[in-house]
Symmetry: C2
Amino acid sequence: MNENLLGIVAGILTSISMIPQLVKVIKEKDAENLSWLMLLVLITGLSLWVWYGFIKDELPIILSNAFAVLVNVTLLICFFIFKKS
Amino acid sequence: MNENLLGIVAGILTSISMIPQLVKVIKEKDAENLSWLMLLVLITGLSLWVWYGFIKDELPIILSNAFAVLVNVTLLICFFIFKKS
């Protein structure tokens, strides 16, 4: 329980830190600074973490990485919507 | 072992995805797009993940989050070195 709480707090903090970039990209409709290749690598890595969390049966890992997948898939979609030319 | 391998691959991928931003900031000597507050929140969260990894005795979690702490502490230092005025 104590370690789960620690994992949940850790997950909330690392999740919060992703929000500003997402808000900025959506607000400014500018995804110029994003790299689709790096987003793909990141999404693949995060998905493997979710898988790892399921195998280890650790809810904090599953939840925080699933949230990160969601944020970065949204960023990837924004990249293709907002990219110029 | 199999789950450790999965965790290590996941950790390598999420670690790789952080490198380009670090290289960009150091190369362009420009940290304008970084927020020190978000870096602090992220570093705190990642440090808690390292702690979580130690409690759970999971090497992939310890290693990948320790690497992420290193990258983001470097970004934070760059932010204060490169910031204008």
